[in-house]
Symmetry: C2
Amino acid sequence: MSYKQIIDSKLSQYCSKQRLYIESFNEAFCYSLLNGGKRLRALLMLTIIELKRQVSEDDYKIAMGLEMLHAYSLIHDDLPAMDNALLRRNLPTNHIVFGEDLAILAGDGLNTNAFYMISSAKISPEKIVKIIKTLSEKTGIYGMVLGQAADILSSKNKLNKPQKWLVNFIHKNKTARFLQSCCEIGAILSDQDERPFSKFGLYLGMSYQIIDDYLDIVSDKKVLGKDKKDIDNNTLTYPKVYGIEKSLDLANKLKGLAIDALKNIQGHEKLIELAEFIVKRAS
Amino acid sequence: MSYKQIIDSKLSQYCSKQRLYIESFNEAFCYSLLNGGKRLRALLMLTIIELKRQVSEDDYKIAMGLEMLHAYSLIHDDLPAMDNALLRRNLPTNHIVFGEDLAILAGDGLNTNAFYMISSAKISPEKIVKIIKTLSEKTGIYGMVLGQAADILSSKNKLNKPQKWLVNFIHKNKTARFLQSCCEIGAILSDQDERPFSKFGLYLGMSYQIIDDYLDIVSDKKVLGKDKKDIDNNTLTYPKVYGIEKSLDLANKLKGLAIDALKNIQGHEKLIELAEFIVKRAS
């Protein structure tokens, strides 16, 4: 089984065991968590661990926490007050199925539960603290949440900042820093120097988001599995600021920097494949 | 200075040092955090520590984290899709001032940043992990968020459960378990047995919420500092299920159980005062 299949199956098991008494909340919580996706955050973490040692049950627990955090961010991003998205991974978004109230709460619960999963892992407390510190830094007000605020405000023309500065700020904070922390966490868990993986994750994340913007323009809605909202929503994207060609060029350069960061790492082929896949992907 | 004054002042300093680049997000984040309140969660934690030793700077850092988590819960509870509240502590609610998008994100940021604050404290990793574990358990899907889901769904007549079971479930999860974890955290930080404080916090929290329901019925809006929404919102409350007299009786009994849990704790007078204050308070 691939890591994606293992994570999907473990999340499925996890959800089938939850008895939260309030059934519709339980469903809203699991709906977005089990709704597929590339499991990129878990994949990055696990692939980095694999460079050093076999993946353990506790590693999976932490990987599930990362995917919970990611699921929360998608539910909240899709809300009517945010991107107002109706479709995600070819299914109606969480608030369309369960209502805004449960969607907000499912997101909140997934966010907090990520930290519960991680703090419950049976690994050294030193590692758990390092993991929670990088993750809460890079997905909170010094990362993802801040980037989402910049994204939303910029799309509503409420920010008076230079476009090139802003698009870089949004991508770095909204997307890249979370991926960066997933790579750092892989290194922490497997006793490797975090720095090269941290760089790799940051550059990869920047590249990833440029490709995401590009796909929103050129892809078919069905392939993408979600509404093409960037133009409707007036989202600030790399193609809008730099044009398509220069954006793809930048994405490739960033991928190159990501790969370069790993040059002294033994056995990094799978990570490079992952980076190549991200830049070549179709959805 | 009282603990409340110290916490207010430390949160104020913290906010004045934040430079999050996106000014309106920065403001939304700080607005609800600095908007007063009793600081009950911090107070409980600090008062429990004080039984054993002097409060340290790192304790305050963790207390600030608890108040951030509380501020997040209020912002999200007040949202249009939830309680649709216009007023909180005599000021317009976060989404009224900053819009729903920033209010959701400020809440998300406060939630995650609580874990960042705690994981950044310079205390033993073992303690940090224990603290994060109890907090994320009791404010997430096994506590506060679950209780809020039950509350909202019950007010929309979407839950088919016996009323007595439900009102107890809501109060325990929505309010009491967070207070319980604050008490446990105080004990963890000061190397005391968590069990009596855990019981104390749980009973106190139950009592606290009954009084909250009662005040919503009898108090003046100005004294309360928020809209009296329980009747408009069809909220399931103790007075509704048991009547006012029996509810006050129950609140007193629970306060008694809380105090009783501390019977073997030396120097517990300040905690008992706190419990008495909670049941006697006017807002």
